[in-house]
């Protein structure tokens, strides 16, 4: 038995139990026990008094889009001006793999242990996450507009089925269907995904939902109801669904989503940067909907660590509520761990440090003067800690990083490969900007 000793432990269990001076015993990929005081006998690893908390869960991202990070910043029409043309012209399976590798390095270094991705060539995303040792939900995007990896919806579903086959019974990688959004796929595709979902219990469905005001107008004009209702009529509002953004639900929409048991991935920085306003996170959670903190793609939120989401998520709710009270620090960390795990249907396996759960955890150094004093460890994490404070990252009992050195991937090569691809992107951007001038 391995024992992590001399640790300050944040369990994120139902009682938010904290252990000032504790230990965690590991058996293979699981937590066997944890406690205070003298550790049990075993192969001891001294945590040097550092903080141990559950690995963080990022329930909505587009990992390969690291390659687009910071591109078209502050530009309103960047989707049609840059993203779609670049994706059509340049996004291949190899590009996806390179982008995901850089994203995996960043996730591990930022203390994220589980990512739910939706993009293209997800078999390659899965292969990288597997090699990196991360836990992942890999979502085959299904889109009616020309996608880099499928020319028709039939082809998209064929890729999805292949994905299911490849990762059947994988201990860490889970296949998932990811229809792009109600307005971009339409009710027919949503219905087809709902059928697929019913036939594949345990596999999450990911979709952008109620993300833009244009989407609301589309639903009203085309279907005479809300975009949430369009999704419900197609049978897709089920506990399998993780809806990303959910910026503009009506009260009735919120009640309906709660009744159906769907979950939400909240992308504070992405929403804020797009000027879309403030998502009703407080109301969603008050209705009993699980809401996880997510990064969105690195072109939208620019980072893949959740520390960058903490302060914005909390401040947005405080601004909307006109008080310091909404979304207190404990809730922010809950959303980044156990509640985020719940959005992916994994709350019984990850998201808190409890006996029997997977050993997905991170070690955070509290050495930096910027973190002190610590009156409330949750406040320290939310408003002062940074990804560079994460010293080590473990998934399923294996260290993916120790002393800030990623063990499972060659970080230097990942960066060099990504930069080479970025050069081709830059050349294309220059052409685009020339044409549109």
């Amino acid at each position: 038995m391995r024992v992590l000793s001399n640790a300050r432990i944040l369990t994120m269990d139902a009682d938010l139990r904290e252990i000032g001076q504790g230990w965690i015993a590991l058996e293979d990929d699981r937590i066997a026990a944890l406690g205070e005081g003298t550790p049990p006998a075993g192969r001891v690893e001294d945590m040097g008094g550092d903080l141990i908390m559950p690995g963080m869960v990022n329930p909505h991202c587009h990992l390969p889009m690291t390659l687009f990070r910071g591109l078209g910043e502050d530009v309103d029409d960047r989707l049609f001006r840059y993203i779609l043309p670049l994706e059509r012209a340049l996004v291949t399976a190899d590009v996806v793999e390179a982008g995901t590798r850089l994203a995996a390095v960043e996730s591990i270094r930022g203390g994220v242990t589980t990512v739910a991705d939706m993009y293209y060539f997800e078999d390659r995303v899965g292969a990288v996450l597997d090699a990196a040792g991360l836990r992942g939900v890999i979502g085959q995007t299904l889109a009616d507009f020309a996608a880099p990896d499928h020319a028709s919806m039939d082809e998209g579903f064929a890729r999805l089925d292949a994905l299911v086959d490849i990762y059947r019974d994988h201990p860490r990688i889970t296949a998932s269907a990811a229809p792009h959004a109600p307005y971009s796929t339409g009710p027919e595709v949503l219905r087809r995904v709902a059928e697929w979902s019913a036939a594949h219990p345990g596999l999450p469905v990911q979709m952008h939902l109620a993300e833009t005001r244009e989407e609301l107008k589309w639903a009203e004009a085309e279907h005479g109801c809300s975009t949430v209702e369009v999704t419900d009529r197609a049978g897709l509002l089920t506990p399998a669904l993780v809806a990303a953004h959910v910026m503009y639900p009506s009260e009735a929409d919120i009640a309906l989503m709660a009744e159906r048991g769907i979950s939400v991935a909240h992308n504070a920085r992405s929403n804020g940067k797009a000027g879309r306003g403030i998502a009703p996170v407080t109301a969603l959670r008050a209705a009993g909907i699980a809401v996880g903190l997510a990064t969105d793609g690195p072109m939208s939120g620019n980072t893949l660590d959740l520390f960058a989401q903490f302060a914005p998520a909390s401040m947005f709710q405080k601004i909307a509520g006109g008080s310091r009270k909404p979304l207190p620090c404990t809730d922010v960390i809950r959303m980044a761990t156990i509640e985020g795990a719940g959005t992916l249907g994994m709350g019984d396996r990850i998201g808190s440090l409890e006996p029997g759960k997977q050993a997905d955890l991170i070690r955070i150094s509290l050495a930096d003067p910027r973190l002190h004093p610590v009156y409330d460890i949750y406040s320290t994490l939310v408003f002062a800690a940074l990804p560079c404070d994460v010293r080590a990252t473990m998934v399923a009992g294996s260290w993916l990083m120790e002393d800030r050195q990623v063990a499972t991937l060659d970080a230097g090569k990942a960066l060099a490969d990504a930069l080479q691809i970025a050069r081709a992107f830059k050349a294309r951007i220059i052409e685009i900007d020339k044409v549109s001038q």
Copy 2:
């Protein structure tokens, strides 16, 4: 002559000149020249291809309040419940000195080279900033409520005059008057400060202004006008004034402030955490008012680096404007450097890298994979860079930090001393919480 070579340079001059492969020649405390290509002869320091940009300017903070960081988080009535009782009971000159020392370590490590402080026992704040090598504006707070360092307004002004005497002709430390706010001091004190200011050209005045809705109500009820007008009638709206927060000015207030030439210190995180809404930064700047990014005290904003303000400041304006365009990345970095310098009347000496200016600059490593690709260096700085990327910090030609090691202060001792004081604070908090239960 010293030469910093092999640097990527962001000058933040009027043309936002960037140099891909450049050098900066230093003569004593000043920049003698800078350019591209082969550096001139001299004592060369190789910057290893890192980014060099102007040191950042923090035009509103309460440095000694590092000791309160994270205290009373998410609690609405924390000012009267915690802060004022703790300040009255426990804030001495020694406590101020210890808190400032921790703050100086954090500022230097976060790439801030100039701080404008307002608190108590500012002679001690000045002494620490001087020893740390930082550039500072030290503001004697003038408050009608019982302050830790003066029992009457006469005593407060006597302290202010003493401060002026101590730091007269100091190359880096500037004395300043800091009336707390219009509602807490009243027009009589504002008038007295205005007289003092007229007699002390070149010394800034710092004040909280239009920070809360209660302040607007006070002004309307007591004076039948806005709090900005109360300040103007007292003669205090002058170019010497750096007004902090300015959350709720009317259109007429904005026009008046612009006409009078005052400046604003914007505290995005502090405002957001307090649930106060979004300050009209876009409108203030459109009116021609210089707006600097500031941290506020570490109890309100939790950090003393400006990186933590970048994304919130930009996102808030984008949300208020309903678009990606407001407050683009170049403007954010401008506000953190040259525009911030302007708020303190120092735009001719610091804030950009130009010949003849003070050598206040920072070296930023772009080594972390999380920062790449770099399509736009301003986007990288605003939405991906972190204080831990700052490798070295120089003020007036002297390195205050190299390779993340603070050279001018004992960071370990600063932290240990602060933690000892925090223990006394914690004991008092426990008593307060007991009594109020």
